[in-house]
């Protein structure tokens, strides 16, 4: 292929603006970039790599705290201290655009990419989580996407041998053309074995190892930085293809190399492949890097430098080796049957220089490519969207009260967003590595750490509908709920990673949602003392039918000092007392009840008082540590009634009924039972511990109301609901399989 001449027009086709193109020419000392250089700038300055439209806002988030061991964005993933000389590396990332076009490979490579980010730090992955959003399951295309994404996640993670332990799946029309696939990985590393994403030591060899480089995924990063359109289908070739077996070999080899101490730095070749990994490590190390593309193992003939530099072929790693220890690196790669090649060297001139067939095809100052340095940073125009006031002013009380509450509960349990997700997580290996103490289906997963007494609790969360109705509050709720889920197991929430899924940032309404949500997230994190360790921003989640709900997904990690204390979400003993921790307010805005029963997305998101939330979580954790309670389950979609039903049939072994009596005071019965008021948890405890629990709640100033008792085989709530638990469970577990088989 002959290289085209570089012009402004070509730059614009590459997604660069006129001013950006001019800036590039300036950075190059006034000359026109080569075709390869244009490619390099276009990917490095794409939204995906440069965070140009988000960085200014992200800098407002709380990014400090005593548990943080790495500065957000500096390393491949976030890193926090959990004591015993151990650290947790974790990160979440989106693969929305590829999954919209090719769900199986899109999701699979999403898992692969995030795993590499974690093991590139020297951390052995111990768990995966997935936060998914789809349109309505009535739609056949959505079923195809859902099925493909779940298979893709399963096949990749299962083969790699990393358990997929938690996550969430929501279904809403807002995601019809633009599903969200956010994958999170969690890994464990000893403090003294953390590897950095850095190039250092002039003369050190630069290795590429893993799969050979092909034409797949060229411009994947750029593809992820534009709206989905009819033409997206033609972008299928931008979607990479995953090979989990090679990933497994790379993982073992990388961890072995880091343990041996024969490498200086490691970075995954993710978005923008060789270009980003090489230039970013050099920029971080304050050095230069020179690559010889003739040394890159290729899988296709006739590839030009532009293609080699931009390829996003999966399962490749960049390693800066220690000079003199090349043979050890080669031997390790050989042991794991991996392709490897020394294809570059660390230099002292702070330039990203690339040679091909003896000619220099790229010669750029490394800092000009790095996010937040010469790469552009924009703060965009904002405008509060009109729909917000319109939806807030909807008269909630115009909604008719139901006649049959049993029917309402059954309909909610059958709503795919609420219904049991066994169809999903039974396709994932949730138990490999033999650490999963609390399996999917409860609030947060709990994974013990062998050779210590500790366990980690982890969860992803975000109700996009709340964020749509009230971005600032919705983001606070996402943080609060993720932390609450973790606290329900007894773990102390430590830190978060986030995946910010939004529409087009150049549209003022979208950017307003983004800005508000980031501000809300920051507020909530400051109160809960859970700093942000990094994450990922995914803009341009739009298609011809509109934007998605703004969906800032939170990935939360919590720590249990004593794994034995891990508490489940479901009832565990006949005769236990049932309490409601928190207060009923009957806030029905944005609820699943309004959406499913009344076909409306309206009202405001439920209110939240973050100080109260923090006290509530502190109380929960203390009560669990004092072994006072048997179960804790937070109320979420579907409200109190759904949460109670889940407590009854949640156990995989024994099912329990419950007899519940609620004081409605002056609240509407349907609003109280199905409203999604925040900061509420259903707690069960034995008769013997009732007095002590009540006393602890009183001293903590926590509303803690006795509402009934565990027992029998029916769930009764006042004279409104009376249903056999076996029937409820059948509805709950059967809904998704039934829709998928239809």
């Amino acid at each position: 292929m002959k290289e085209p001449e570089v012009t402004l027009e070509l730059a614009v086709q590459h997604g660069l603006s006129e001013e950006e193109y001019e800036k590039i020419c300036r950075l190059l000392g006034g000359r026109t970039p080569t075709y390869s250089e244009l490619g390099v700038f276009s990917v490095m300055w794409s939204e995906h790599c440069s965070y140009k439209n988000s960085l200014a806002m992200l800098r407002t988030l709380p990014r400090e705290g005593k548990v943080l061991l790495a500065r957000p964005g500096e390393e491949n993933a976030g890193l926090i201290d959990i004591g015993d000389g151990l650290a947790v590396a974790f990160k979440i990332e989106s693969h929305n655009h590829p999954s919209a076009v090719e769900p199986y490979q899109g999701a699979a490579t999403g898992v692969g990419g995030i795993m590499r980010d974690v093991f590139a730090m020297g951390a052995r992955p111990i768990a995966a989580l997935d936060s998914l959003r789809f349109g309505s399951l009535e739609n056949n295309r959505v079923k195809y996407l859902f099925d493909g994404v779940v298979r893709g996640i399963g096949d990749y993670g299962n083969c790699l041998g990393i358990p997929t332990v938690a996550g969430e799946v929501y279904f809403d029309e807002a995601y019809t053309g633009n599903p969200l696939v956010n994958a999170m990985a969690v890994g464990l590393v000893k403090h003294d074995q953390v590897a950095k994403a850095i190039a250092a030591g002039v003369g050190n060899p630069v290795f590429i190892f893993g799969s050979s480089t092909g034409r797949d995924g060229i411009h994947g990063a750029t593809f992820a930085s534009e709206e989905i359109s009819k033409e997206s289908e033609e972008r299928r070739s931008n979607v990479q293809v995953g090979d989990p077996f090679t990933e497994k070999m790379i993982m073992e080899a990388t961890l072995e190399l880091i343990k041996k101490g024969c490498v200086v730095g490691v970075q995954d070749m993710g978005a923008a492949g060789i270009t980003s990994s090489a230039s970013e490590t050099a920029a971080k190390g304050g050095v230069g890097i020179e690559l010889d593309l003739d040394k890159v193992p290729l899988r296709e003939q006739g590839m030009i430098p532009y293609e080699i530099l931009l390829s996003e072929s999966q399962e490749r790693m960049l390693v800066i080796g220690k000079k003199g220890r090349e043979q050890e690196i080669i031997d390790t790669c050989e042991k794991w049957d991996l392709n490897r090649s020394v294809f570059g060297v660390v230099t002292d001139d702070r330039r990203f220089r690339v040679k091909w067939h003896g000619e220099t095809v790229v010669n750029i100052p490394v800092n000009s490519l790095a996010a937040g340095e010469s790469a552009p940073v924009y703060e965009r125009e904002t405008k509060k969207p009109q729909y917000i006031d319109e939806l807030h002013s909807f008269d909630i009380h115009s909604v008719p009260q139901p006649e049959n509450y049993n029917n309402v509960l059954e309909k909610l349990l059958a709503s795919p967003t609420i219904a049991g997700k066994a169809w999903v997580y039974e396709q994932y290996d949730t138990m490999v590595r033999t650490n999963t103490m609390i399996l999917p289906g409860g609030d947060a997963a709990v994974v013990r750490i062998k050779k210590t007494k500790k366990a980690l609790a982890m969860k992803t969360d975000c109700n996009g509908r709340f964020v749509y109705l009230n971005p600032r509050r919705g983001a606070q709720i996402a943080v609060a709920e993720a932390a609450r889920n973790v606290a329900c197991t007894g773990a102390v929430p430590l830190a978060i990673t986030n995946c910010l899924n939004f529409g087009n940032p150049l549209k003022p309404e979208s950017y307003w949602q983004f800005k508000e949500a980031v501000l809300g997230m920051g507020d909530a994190c400051r109160v809960l003392n859970t700093p942000i360790t990094g994450g990922n921003v995914s803009f341009y989640n739009e298609n011809p039918h509109g934007a998605i709900y703004p969906t800032p997904v939170i990935g939360m990690i919590g720590l249990l000092d004593n794994a034995d204390l891990a508490t489940s979400s479901f009832f565990r003993q006949e005769g236990d007392a049932v309490y409601l921790l928190g207060e009923n307010k009957g806030e029905i805005g944005g609820s699943e009840y309004l959406s499913v029963l009344h076909n409306r997305v309206a009202g405001d998101a439920p209110s939240i008082d973050m100080e109260f939330e923090r006290k509530l979580q502190d109380f929960l954790i203390q009560a669990i540590h004092e072994r006072l309670i048997h179960s804790a389950h937070d109320t979420a979609e579907g409200g109190l009634a759904v949460a109670l039903a889940e407590c009854c049939f949640g156990s995989k072994n024994k099912k329990y009924g419950a007899d519940i009596e609620i004081d409605f005071a002056d609240l509407r019965q349907d609003f109280l039972l199905f409203g999604e008021d925040q900061s509420r948890v259903i707690v069960s405890c034995s008769r013997e511990n009732q007095a002590a629990s009540e006393k602890l709640a009183k001293s903590a100033g926590m509303p803690f109301t006795y509402i009934g008792r565990v027992g029998g085989d029916t769930l009764t709530i006042n004279d409104l609901i009376l249903l056999r638990v076996a029937e409820l469970e059948k509805t709950y577990t059967g809904a998704i399989p039934e829709m998928m088989n239809r």
């Binding site: 077996f245 497994k248 039974e426 290996d429 490999v432 590595r433 062998k450």
Partner: protein, 229 residues
């Protein structure tokens, strides 16, 4: 007793079995590399779960030709104990050490969940610690656990009491609803005629600690240790 756990490229339950045998069952354990021709004087060989060689071509079909398997086959033919779990079971089938073959699960999906297993015979070297008819709660995690054998040889397998474990419901009934993968006769685990080789799809190493929700898997490891020590 000294256990050897074979590590193929793509094995991913090797460390899980190692951990249970060493930490819970207090046995000597070592890893055996697929490319080697020695079993290092191990007295029992475990072929662990995972995706050996990526499970490309067909599960277990490439692993069967690895150098170490030539040694394992000789070892097994001498009547020494070999345990194949999940992918290990598939490799035993491909190696001809056990009869039959695996097809894709009837659902055509990967399935990971706890299942109930009925112990069919406790005279076996691997189930002697169990009661006949006892129900074990042990998880499965596989894409291809749909056991197949032609009618004639299946009758022979049954006649010889080689079926050790079957998928059952909570009451121990062998029903179609309790069959997670379409396996013939709800077969979950079989032994060879001599009784020194067990292949099973469920993962006993995942159910050998109270903290993980079941200790039933220990019965299988303990039986093996008692019988072959």
């Amino acid at each position: 007793m000294k256990f050897g756990i074979v590590v193929f490229p793509g094995s991913n339950c090797d460390h899980d079995v190692y951990d249970i045998l060493r930490r819970t069952m207090k046995q000597d354990v070592e890893f055996l590399w697929h490319g080697n021709h020695t079993l290092n004087n191990c007295e029992t060989i475990v072929l662990p779960g995972g995706f050996s060689y990526g499970d490309y071509l067909r599960t277990g079909s490439i692993a069967r030709f690895s150098p170490i398997m030539q040694e394992v086959i000789k070892f097994a033919q001498k009547g020494k104990p070999v345990l194949g779990i999940c992918n290990g079971f598939q490799i035993l089938l491909e190696s001809g050490l056990l009869p039959g073959a695996m097809q894709k699960n009837k659902s055509l999906r990967f399935v990971c969940k706890y299942v109930n297993l009925r112990v069919e015979i406790n005279r076996s070297n691997f189930t002697y610690r169990c009661e006949e008819g006892q129900i074990l709660k042990i998880p499965i995690a596989h894409n291809e656990g749909n056991y197949y054998l032609d009618a004639e040889r299946l009758a022979e397998l049954e006649g010889n009491n080689q079926v050790v474990l079957r998928y059952c419901d909570a009451d121990g009934e062998i029903t179609e609803a309790a069959n997670p993968n379409g396996s013939l006769h709800n077969i979950a685990g079989i032994v060879n005629k001599q009784g020194n080789i067990l292949g099973l799809m469920p993962h006993p190493e995942r159910a050998s600690e109270r903290i993980l929700g079941s200790e039933d898997g220990k019965l299988i490891f303990q039986s093996l240790i008692d019988n072959f020590s």
